[in-house]
């Protein structure tokens, strides 16, 4: 948790009053004319936990990829943390993902040749702090997700639930403003899914981070502050 001793600057106050994420009229058309997004708009405030639900093929993953700066819309604009990311050049996007975003995917989230600790330290490695600091922070994150005793295990030596917890630790290690999760519990049984979601909620609340989770699991929806539904490429209130 960040401890501040100074009053926020006027600029920071303006930023704090802005929503963390704003997406306007996003359109994405795939070849063969499939309109995955058809005027999708969404606003998410700081520290919110928002669920996006919908049938498969409703455009959930496409939306998540665009919000995560992994893909570009054919039309529409996206602001993250006050930056209009849809106007940035391709070469600038990795830095946005590295400094402002965290990702958790459904499964196979981890690099198989790296230990849990190295997987969590990976984003830090791209930021290039001193390796000692990177590994200290990675260890702290793993301890926070309850895997302090699995630091040097390879992903193949961890259970599915443990692997997802490592993925969460990695998504949070950079202190990103926004964490995006795509069906994070999709490969877990209901018991593990509930544990994982509670952990995510707790960590986000502690750190004041914003969290968007795409899911079709109603149990996941229960831990969210708000739920949106995707229908025919549009976002509607749940």
């Amino acid at each position: 948790m960040l401890v501040r001793h100074e009053a926020p600057s006027p600029e920071e106050q303006t930023m704090a009053s802005q929503p963390l994420l704003r997406a306007e009229d996003l359109v994405k058309v795939y070849p063969m004319g499939v309109r995955a997004l058809d005027g999708a708009s969404l606003t998410v405030g700081r520290g919110e936990i928002v669920g996006i639900m919908g049938r498969s093929g409703s455009g959930k993953s496409t939306l998540l990829h665009i919000l995560g700066c992994l893909d570009r819309p054919d039309a529409g604009r996206v602001w993250i943390d006050g930056i209009e990311v849809t106007r940035l050049a391709d070469a600038a996007l990795p830095a946005v993902r590295l400094r402002r975003l965290g990702f958790v995917f459904q499964s196979h989230n981890l690099v198989p040749s790296l230990t849990a600790l190295e997987n969590v330290a990976l984003p830090l490695r791209y930021l290039r702090p001193r390796p000692k600091d990177a590994y200290r922070r990675a260890r702290e994150m793993l301890e926070a997700v309850g895997l302090g005793d699995r630091l040097h295990h390879l992903p193949g030596q961890l259970s599915g639930g443990q692997q997802q917890r490592v993925a969460i630790a990695r998504a949070l290690v950079n202190n990103p403003a926004l964490v995006l999760a795509d069906e994070p519990t999709g490969a877990l049984d209901s018991q593990n899914a509930r544990t994982l979601m509670r952990l995510m909620r707790q960590l986000c609340q502690e750190r004041g981070q914003t969290f968007i989770v795409v899911t079709h699991d109603p149990a996941v929806g229960q831990v969210c502050d708000r739920i949106y539904r995707m229908e025919d490429g549009r976002v509607v209130a749940g």
Partner: protein, 387 residues
């Protein structure tokens, strides 16, 4: 660490690729070592002949291919010739058949030889490794070239038996990596006795002042001009080689050898590069999802490019080390065997060792560029769809 783990994760494929590079580099090292040795021989020869115009008779008195006192006198009187070195040269063992370093008995007149040594310069000088030269007037003595001594297993104090005559070894020359290594220097009188012993005709004619070959020693840069003058003075029946002609011939031989190195290098390029390209393309397609995840969490193109390039460089380094190591062992073994046959044929120089290793790394790196670029340019969304 991650690189090594990734390579270890697909160890069979990595192993085979490393082996592919190693085989290429092995051939490069061994071929290169042979070329280095021959280049050294050629350089040694060039240094030895830098100030010498070689003169052989291809006719002469009664077409016996010999040089007589008149020819030597003509040479001595030719302007620019500082000294005429005379030799009586014959095969040490006519029954030896093919030898890599042919052995010769070379009859010399000690004062004449010493003066030639002085004029020929530092680089062309023959030095004693052990023992001493004989005294003028001594007979039945010899100073051996290093290869002759080694092959015949002779040392100072031993007896060399050649063409039915015995010579006491008084000295051994330092290795020159050139023609004199195969010589056994003997007093001119002994050589002439052997020459006459084979020819009743020569004995009958009383031709006792004859030589088989001579060198006109000249100052550097004058070789070509004096060779022409000598050719005119000696009229026909003599074969003359100027230092420049010898250098040109040596240059041609060097080029051929260098072409042989490049040929073996080309084999290494093809074998090694194909294997590395194949392995790295496999690695990229196997790890597509992993690349997608890395891009999602903030890796830029350069980070991905660097990771895959580093893997191919490590493959090159391992292959290079293995190839060079195997090559060095093989060269050592072959040289050990060759030494008993005459002269070692391979020379592993530091520049060749460094060159081989550098070549392996550079080649692997170059082969890894295209697969690494493919990885770096993967679309993150597409990559994340892969399993």
């Amino acid at each position: 660490m991650e690189i090594l783990r990734n390579l270890y994760r697909r160890r069979l494929r990595t192993g085979l690729t490393v082996l592919g590079i190693a085989v290429g580099i092995l051939s490069f090292t061994v071929m290169g070592a042979m070329a280095e040795k021959f280049n050294r021989l050629i350089d040694g020869g060039e240094a030895y002949f830098a100030r010498r115009i070689a003169i052989h008779s291809v006719g002469g008195p009664l077409r016996l291919n010999l040089l007589g006192p008149e020819e030597i006198e003509v040479m001595k009187r030719t302007p620019g010739v500082r000294h005429v070195e005379t030799q009586i040269m014959m095969a040490l063992d006519e029954t030896a058949g093919f030898e890599l370093a042919p052995r010769f008995l070379v009859g010399i007149n000690l004062p004449n030889f010493a003066r030639a040594q002085l004029i020929a310069g530092e680089a062309a000088r023959l030095r004693l490794a052990r023992g001493s030269w004989w005294q003028p007037g001594d007979r039945g003595v010899t100073v051996l070239g290093s290869a002759t001594a080694h092959k015949m297993n002779l040392d100072v104090g031993d007896i060399l038996t050649a063409r039915g005559m015995e010579f006491r070894v008084v000295g051994i020359l330092e290795e020159t990596l050139s023609v004199p290594d195969g010589w056994a220097l003997i007093p001119e009188e002994d050589a002439r006795t052997l020459l006459l012993a084979d020819s009743a005709l020569l004995r009958e004619m009383g031709l006792d002042a004859v030589w088989t070959n001579a060198y006109a020693l000249v100052d550097p840069g004058l070789g070509e001009e004096i060779t022409e003058t000598l050719a005119r003075s000696l009229r026909r029946g003599y074969l003359l080689h100027s230092p420049e002609q010898l250098a040109r011939a040596a240059g041609t031989a060097s080029s051929l050898l260098n072409a042989a190195i490049l040929g073996s290098a080309a084999i290494a390029v093809i074998v090694g590069a194909l294997a590395v390209i194949n392995t790295m393309f496999f690695a990229v397609s196997e790890r597509t999802r992993e690349i997608g995840i890395k891009k999602a969490i903030g890796a830029d193109r350069w980070a991905i490019l660097r990771e895959f390039l580093a893997e191919s460089l490590v493959i090159g380094l391992l292959g290079g080390l293995l190839g060079l190591g195997t090559g060095a062992v093989l060269i050592g073994a072959l040289n050990g065997y060759m030494a008993s046959e005459g002269t070692p044929v391979f020379l592993l120089t530091p520049r060749l060792a460094l060159g081989s290793l550098g070549f392996a790394i550079l080649l692997s790196g170059a082969a890894g560029v295209v697969p690494a670029l493919r990885a770096a340019n993967l679309d993150p969304v597409e990559a994340l769809r892969a399993y």
